[in-house]
């Protein structure tokens, strides 16, 4: 089985290429995704390979991009629109939540929206204002959408393929901090990683740490740093909606302690949802309060301060220690 050593963003491209090849109804479009190959190069070369009918540039208009994708999807196609940065998705928010998410319900299944809306998200790359936010909770709050956040190149290709083939609209959020942070062997052929399944990245017995996306790496780093002191289990959720509650409660029932790590603001973030679900479903296993290690309830700061904003290994280690020593 042949494979390539790819970065996460190369795995996005490889995943798109595979799906463009296997299904003529897949079209990739957005701002600068054509000739330019995307501002992050996620679509590099696809325009040359598949032509303008399959991979095309659009006017600069997020609501137009998502709104036309809804129409194309209702017609039976599998559009894969790109929002250049998740911070620019808000003009399209109405199309995402009022239409993409609801068209199946509203038409009682007559029309569906098999769209995969890609958007790079998250901080840590010294980007300008509005380029670093983590607003995955907006989308997980909306019934009818699926939300996926990969953390490794191999998962990225498989989750992207699964999203494109999924009959429901998927918001596919790519953690741009780790677009090029490391490489992994990625099979050349197409494959899927099932949506809705978390991955246990590291087994442990003392505490469960739940995280996703770019925070998976500092979390694993913290777990390694604590090795010998605390036996940490790290669960990468991968799909945030539908959430893999079985894996979460199973892990918690084993360890009795939980830390949630996300770079999004604390208030109303998914950490709160995970803590509440653990309380509802596994209270009697609980040895300590659920700890949240998150970004702050501030606008995402300009880059001089972003390293203070984002959880890193030291902060995560502190959170784990507090939980274990409670």
């Amino acid at each position: 089985m042949s494979s390539q050593n790819l970065t996460l963003v190369q795995a996005v491209r490889d995943g798109l290429k595979g799906e463009l090849e296997r299904d003529d109804d897949v079209v990739v479009f957005g701002e600068d995704v054509g000739k330019n190959g995307g501002v992050f190069r996620a679509t590099q070369g696809l325009y040359d390979e598949f032509g303008e009918d399959r991979v095309f540039d659009t006017p600069l208009a997020e609501s137009g991009i998502v709104g036309t994708a809804v129409g194309m999807a209702a017609y039976g196609m599998k559009p894969v629109p790109e929002i250049q940065f998740s911070g620019f998705a808000y003009p399209a928010f109405d199309q995402i939540v009022s239409h993409a998410a609801r068209l199946r319900t509203r038409s009682r299944g007559r029309f569906t929206v098999p769209m995969t809306l890609r958007m790079p998200y998250g901080g840590g790359i010294r980007a300008p204002e509005h380029h670093s936010e983590s607003k995955e909770a907006f989308y997980t709050h909306e019934a009818g959408l699926k939300v996926v956040v990969p953390s490794t190149p191999r998962d990225t290709k498989g989750l992207l393929a699964a999203s494109i083939r999924d009959p429901d609209p998927v918001v596919f959020m790519e953690p741009k901090l780790i677009y090029r942070a490391f490489r992994e062997e990625v099979p050349d052929e197409t494959y899927t990683v099932e949506l809705g399944e978390a991955a246990v990245r590291r087994e442990g017995t003392d505490v469960s740490v739940f995280t996703w996306g770019a925070m998976t790496r500092p979390t694993l780093e913290a777990a390694e740093n604590l090795d010998g002191e605390v036996d940490v289990e790290v669960v990468d959720l991968r799909t945030l909606s539908p959430m893999d509650w079985d894996t979460i409660t199973e892990s918690f029932e084993k360890t009795g302690r939980a830390v949630v790590v996300h770079e999004a603001p604390k208030t109303g973030g998914l950490g709160a949802e995970i803590a509440a679900t653990i309380q509802e479903e596994a209270l009697l296993y609980q040895e300590a309060p659920v700890k949240r290690v998150t970004g702050f309830d501030t606008p995402f700061p300009l880059y001089a301060l972003e390293d203070y904003y984002m959880p890193e290994a030291a902060r995560i280690e502190d959170g784990i220690r507090e939980t274990v020593e409670f």
């Binding site: 659009t58 809804v70 194309m72 038409s107």
Partner: protein, 368 residues
């Protein structure tokens, strides 16, 4: 010369307010049967509308957006479509949707709060769009998909004058211009976006002239003149499907008209507009206008009109009976069609609601 190729300030008219053909106008080449069908559908839409408002007043239906005054624009434009063409409505196009195949009971059921009213089976009709202008990019997207598939179907997208202020109007028309999609953008300019007059939506002299900015033709038509609307819509649909050399597919149609009643049954228009204004527009009512024309041509007489009245009343009464006869949607239906496959958490919530209903009777649960 195509009726579309004109100054967007110049309003297309075929019938004057007394139902007489205006000088130089061409009467659309419709058969007697088609003329009667147009008239009957308009009468049906009017009667349906009056009954729907009354049902709301009696507490038999929820909030409802009336269409009276707009029958000519709705019926005549929808008659320009073939079965394979797409109709993308806002929330007021009950008459247009009926012409394109949606049952009256479906419309009633939706406004009676049962989502199953939106079950459109094989029809190419989008479900009602409530957020203003948000359906416009969908119509453009349908056109992009049709082009991708090499199909020759056309979409007509309805929206009001208020919608032209929204970003989605611009984005939808802009995409349509750029990709040259087979789309007819049909603005039902009924003068009022709830309480805000057309003059406070835009400084443009006409809405039709906005088409220039998108590189497409814009045409203003008397929206209370069904023959003019039919002529314009037919040409716009035909051009979208088979443009001549150098012609672009999309068109923006501004149908100038008036809603006689309230924005919805929850609205009181006497707060923001004068009775004289309403009376002035009622003199342009599309129904007597078409009736006069058809009587003059010998297509209609008292007997035929009476038969139509009776059949329209019967059809609406029967639709109301059917709609009210449907069993109310069971709570389980709320969980259906959210996803292709129900996520586990949703299954659990459905099971919880089922358990609640077993443990308490519905009366207790429904008391708020």
């Amino acid at each position: 010369m195509s009726v579309l190729e004109r100054d967007p300030h110049e309003r297309v008219r075929v019938l004057d307010e007394d139902g007489q053909v205006v000088d130089g106008a061409t009467v659309p080449d419709l058969s007697e049967e088609e003329f009667v069908e147009m008239y009957r559908s308009m009468r049906l839409a009017r009667h349906f509308d009056q009954r729907a408002v009354s049902l709301q007043r009696q507490g038999r239906m929820g909030t409802y957006p009336p269409l009276s005054g707009q029958e000519g624009a709705q019926v005549a434009s929808a008659m320009a479509l073939g079965d394979e063409d797409w109709l993308v409505p806002s929330y007021r196009e009950h008459g247009a949707a009926y012409v394109h195949g949606l049952t009256l009971e479906g419309t009633l059921r939706y406004w009676m709060g049962d989502e199953r009213g939106n079950e459109l089976r094989d029809l190419r009709i989008f479900p009602v769009a409530v957020p203003i202008a948000s359906q416009i990019p969908h119509a453009t997207g349908l056109g992009m998909a049709a082009q991708h598939r090499g199909e020759d179907d056309v979409s007509i997208c309805y929206f009001g004058d208020g919608a032209t202020s929204e970003g989605d109007f611009h984005e939808g028309l802009n995409f349509a211009g750029v990709y040259d999609t087979p789309t007819v953008f049909f603005c039902n300019n009924n003068q009022w976006a709830i309480s805000v007059p057309r003059e406070k939506q835009t400084r443009s002299e006409t809405i039709a002239q906005k088409a220039v900015a998108y590189g497409m033709e814009g045409v203003q038509v008397d929206g209370m003149d069904p023959l003019a609307v039919y002529q314009v819509a037919t040409e716009a649909v035909e051009k979208a499907r088979n443009p001549e050399e150098g012609q672009l597919r999309p068109t923006l149609v501004e149908a100038v008209q008036y809603r006689f009643g309230a924005h919805t049954t929850a609205d009181d228009p006497s707060v923001y507009r004068e009775d004289e204004e309403v009376e002035e527009w009622k003199a342009k009512d599309p129904i007597p206008r078409l009736e006069r024309f058809l009587r003059d041509r010998g297509v209609l007489d008292d007997e035929r009109v009476a038969a139509i009245t009776e059949s329209v009343e019967d059809e609406v009464a029967s639709a109301i009976e059917t709609a009210e006869g449907f069993e109310r949607p069971g709570p389980d239906t709320m969980f259906e069609h959210v996803y292709a496959e129900m996520p586990k958490r949703l299954e659990e919530q459905r099971a919880y609601l089922r358990r609640l209903r077993e443990e308490h009777d519905d009366d207790e649960l429904l008391e708020h």
